[in-house]
Point group: C2
Chain length 192, copies 2
Amino acid sequence: MVHEKPPCIGKNIQRIRKQQQITLSVLAERSGVSKAMLSQIEAEKVNPTVATVWKIARGLEVDLDTLIKGESEKAKKFMVTRAEDTTTLETVENGPHIKVLSPIAMAEDLEIYLLTFEPGNVLESTAHEPGTEEYLTVFKGEVSVKAGAKEALLKEGDFIIYNCDIDHTISNESPEKSVVHMIVRFPKRQWE
Amino acid sequence: MVHEKPPCIGKNIQRIRKQQQITLSVLAERSGVSKAMLSQIEAEKVNPTVATVWKIARGLEVDLDTLIKGESEKAKKFMVTRAEDTTTLETVENGPHIKVLSPIAMAEDLEIYLLTFEPGNVLESTAHEPGTEEYLTVFKGEVSVKAGAKEALLKEGDFIIYNCDIDHTISNESPEKSVVHMIVRFPKRQWE
DNA sequence: AACAAATATACATTATATTATACACTTTTA
DNA sequence: TAAAAGTGTATAATATAATGTATATTTGTT
């Protein structure tokens, strides 16, 4: 998401520094950034370079994007999606029955599905963008999972994580129906 | 995670700009940062301020931390956790049977569980840190979910999202066993 | 209340980011 | 082939970041 305003780094730094109960002098020593500069930054009087902010993040022992992004005040969520309201995806012939559990607005980097494979059903997927992962839970039956050159047979209660930025396939080669919970985790959006 | 080196913003900017097939002049126009500056940044010859990088992120229509963090070269994951190897958590008396599906190393902000509630079982939780969310899929039976003042009865196939940085409870008030898939999503780690 | 210590901010100076312009190189057009 | 256009880089001038030091403010001690 492209923000309308530059990040309030100074405020974020000050909040975290106070939470950690350290002074400007201590942070200056830990970070290698002068006390005067830290004061100016916290007061939003200067626009620091990225390297300077990186040094401060190191001194505070937080990730750089923690300083860049502040706490966002969000309304508490409580959203139910009823079974009969979930979106069903039609896949190719001989594909599984797919229900989309996660609403679009849930999280931009997570999608959650419920897949029902009749015997012989196959779900073939091409490579997604680099860094994408899938997490599968087998609720019922068994499925075979292939990603790249690797393959595994999963039974009820098994769990798997794999990168799906390579071609990958899920199939039910057993004589019984199988039900799989699938989470697709994308890396943060990089460009349109 | 605290990095050992400052981020290679210039390289990230250049990669994304080339992926979008735009020139330095075009990016200069879109971002409000001079063409010469962009050239120096991409060549890692200068250390830009955060505001300048923010302008470039806007011009590229990407999130700021996309520029700050590059693509991480990771080995492809393919990790199976067998049903019999999943960790079982003992909860309080009359609590559900909890299996931890996600290995610790999976993702620092996601935990995945399989919960089995016998009739009458209750899982009470206190508030987690701000921004934490839970996503539940009811695989079998039905459960009642309460978060703060809100409550819902979920049946098989239903899905729910809620903030769990408030007290919340999941209970099986039906005469049948119920099975729930639960994902806990934490906000990014901010400090120790 | 007075003083000392700790902490934060102000300011002059130095270092470097940022821009406008010129130049170099590559690609396209006539 | 030569010229024009497009693209990226170099450079000097200007603006601002960053520091060392001094000063102001706040907190703690007597």
